[in-house]
Amino acid sequence: MKKAILLAISAVIAANVANAQTLRLPHEIFSGGAESLDPISPSRFFEVGQTVYSRLVRQDYDGNITPDLATEWSATPDAKQWTFKLRPGVAFHNGNAFNAEDVVFSLMRTQSEAIDSPTKGGLSIIREVEALDPQTVVIRLNSSHADFPILLMDYRIRMLDAETCNNDRNKLCESGIGTGPFKVVSVDPVGTTVLERSEGYWEGPAKVEKIEIIGIADQQARVAALQAGQIDVVLSITGQQSALFKGNENFIVQPVATGRWLTLAMNTTTKPFDDVRVRKALRILADRDSIGKLVFGEGGYTVACDNPVWSGDQYRAELNCPKDIEQAKALLAEAGYPDGIDVELFASDVTEGLVRMAEIYQAQAKEAGVNVKLRIAPANGYWADTWMKSAFVGSSWSQRPADQILNEAYRTGSAWNETFWNVPSFDAKLDEARQTLDFNARKKVYGELQETLFEEGGSFVPLHQNTMRVISSKLSGLPEVEDFTIRFQDISKAD
């Protein structure tokens, strides 16, 4: 028996030695050195948030909601009250047990006026969070939300230790103490931040022993560092840069679909865009695939049919939107423009590819008799002075889940409703989706919403962007999933 234990121990030690590897990640220094260890801070330190803290629920590699610190959850039939059972035996890096009070603290602080977190809006649906017992929390919502767990899957909604944070909901908590697979050793956002694996992580210790997060602001410099073996991965490179790595056996290039999108937005309340026929004509005249190829290159995009829900989302509607010049011309004639129409389009260099996309659209529109006058506005002040001020403007959005993007961009009165899409029946359907607890029924409603946008909406959304990720071929356990889904604890590194 003794021998067996000794053998087991030495096997564990041997395994540890074999894994005694350091994963080195680049950090883009988005906050210029003011990176905060508080996951809900506006200047959160992304790589630390992903590795040091845990969420209640997380997505699996296919995008489905799966347990993390919560093991099961259920809702009342009106989807207004949710009960989460917590994973027993989980401890923070300082030894404190993780319990329901920590959940109450971590969720309620997102609503703090003082912190002014970017997560405040998304979670404002929460009315109160109650700890029923140490292993159970009840969350009551202001309104129904059948997909409430998706909100908790947000990469910033992480569980903090209420005691370490002095239970102060109005202050940033930069302790760096979480329940995640790695714990903080030292922090230097512009230099090197060091993490070591937490042996007590609930899923078992991570595959690599240490993570070094190295601040490199410039993309070219990151690529050079990867080539020279100073780092092991660059999460996103351009199509041109991917050529540097193709055919090189030391690196693997992964194409990854994301939910970032570029759009040309029409104000549906001003002439001529208040006519649904004009809107549809302006959208179906485009050859989306060639826009994608010309702007982002082969493999750099996924075609969208004016639906902002991205290809990795479970609610994405599969629509078909070929270029149709004849129908566009017919619609314009019907709307009173038999000899074509003049429109003024504003775009700016605020997002990579936006101006190029507008230029290509301008060229394509000619074929349908649409004369686009393209105005390039200065990037400075674009969002304040041009966007949502002019009737036809270029814009861009980052990745959001279906329910969130449809509500933020298309609900009456929403601050960023850039097409001024004030349609009561659409709002009613948005509410209906949130009240429908059956997944398939809900999916049908979200699908109908996207179809409506394709038939009648004011957003021209030709594509979602793909990114290229390059990883050292020493790494394994990093599948082709978008950044938020990566589990750094699953990555291993060969000698």
Partner: protein
């Protein structure tokens, strides 16, 4: 002599005031203000109010310009929007790192260039001159980021002798930074050497054919003495000005090179500030750069005056 120095300093001061005016006005002339430029789509409600209050945008432009200048003189450059820290703190170590890089490059490049320039000038149109001048032309015409990428490819990626990019923080000790300086310093001194060497060569050739050197030769002064006593000091005068311009060029060159090598200096900070639309920081760095530029030129003027007997007097010599 003293008068000249005072006058030059006066001009330098006026230039600085003028430049700071331009820096300030160009930011004022942008649409919106520094807060709307920074916050973009989030420029509304309490966030915008907080920003306006922090940056003191409720004051008139004239008052802000005066306060900004007065602050700058006392070393208070305002608060960075993105980093929410006093700019002075952000700039301190990075200025040291940039001076370290530019200084190393100049310390290696300038003497090297002058020696090469003399040699080429004295061996005009011989094989050594042709070789040196040819390589210099090549070094001048290839953009520095190309040279940098080439060196990274050879020494970091291929041979793996040196780090490709710097991964130490701005606050690292000089010893930790030094290994990271080698490649960027080589790139910077290459381009710099080419410029200064060309100028020195031209000056040497010019002086060698001048009347007073001819005179000295006719008088039977040994060639060695002619070169050291007569040619060298005179040839250095135009060279000093080129050195000043080149050192000033180092500043702009440093922006590109620092970025390529991820070097934690003023250049990377400036580019990050621009990406972040952190205009107070951009303004402050522009001011610091112009201060250095003007300062270096002032030094060059004074050294040229010291070297040139004709400039040592305030009397006009025609």
């Amino acid at each position: 002599m003293f008068k000249i120095i005072i006058r030059r300093m006066g001009f330098a001061f006026l230039t600085l005031i003028f430049v700071s005016g331009i820096v300030f006005i160009s930011v004022e002339a942008l649409p919106g203000n520094v807060c709307t430029a920074y916050l973009q789509r989030f420029a509304q409600g309490p966030r915008l109010e907080k920003c306006i209050e922090q940056q003191g945008l409720d004051r008139s432009s004239a008052v802000r310009f005066r306060d900004w200048l007065a602050g700058a003189v006392q070393g208070d450059l305002g608060v960075s929007l993105k980093r929410q820290k006093p700019i002075r703190e952000l700039v301190g170590e990075r200025l040291r790192n940039t001076v370290l890089l530019a200084g190393t490059s100049a310390a290696v490049g300038v003497p090297f260039a002058i020696v090469l320039g003399f040699w080429a000038g004295l061996r005009r149109d011989k094989r050594a001159d042709l070789a040196i001048s040819g390589i210099a032309m090549l070094a001048m015409t290839i953009p520095e980021f190309v040279t940098a990428s080439l060196l990274i490819f050879i020494f970091a990626i291929w041979l793996n002798w040196l780090p490709a990019v710097t991964i130490v923080p701005p606050s690292a000790s000089v010893l930790d930074i030094l290994p990271n300086i080698i490649l960027p310093a080589i790139v910077l001194s290459l381009v710099m050497t080419a410029h200064i060497m060309r100028m020195t060569r031209t000056a040497v050739i010019d002086i060698l054919t001048s009347d007073f050197v001819e005179m000295a030769r006719l008088k039977g002064v040994p060639e060695r003495r002619i070169i050291w006593r007569h040619v060298a000091p005179s040839a250095l005068i135009p060279t000093v000005n080129v050195i000043a311009l080149t050192v000033a060029w180092l500043l702009s060159g440093v922006v590109v090179i620092e970025q390529v090598f991820n070097y934690p200096g003023m250049g990377t900070l400036m580019l990050q500030a621009i990406y972040d639309r952190d205009l107070p920081l951009v303004q402050a760095i522009a001011l610091i750069f112009s201060f250095i530029y003007v300062g270096v030129n002032l030094l060059a003027d004074i050294s040229a005056a010291l070297l040139d007997p004709r400039l040592r007097t305030s009397r006009r010599v025609y």
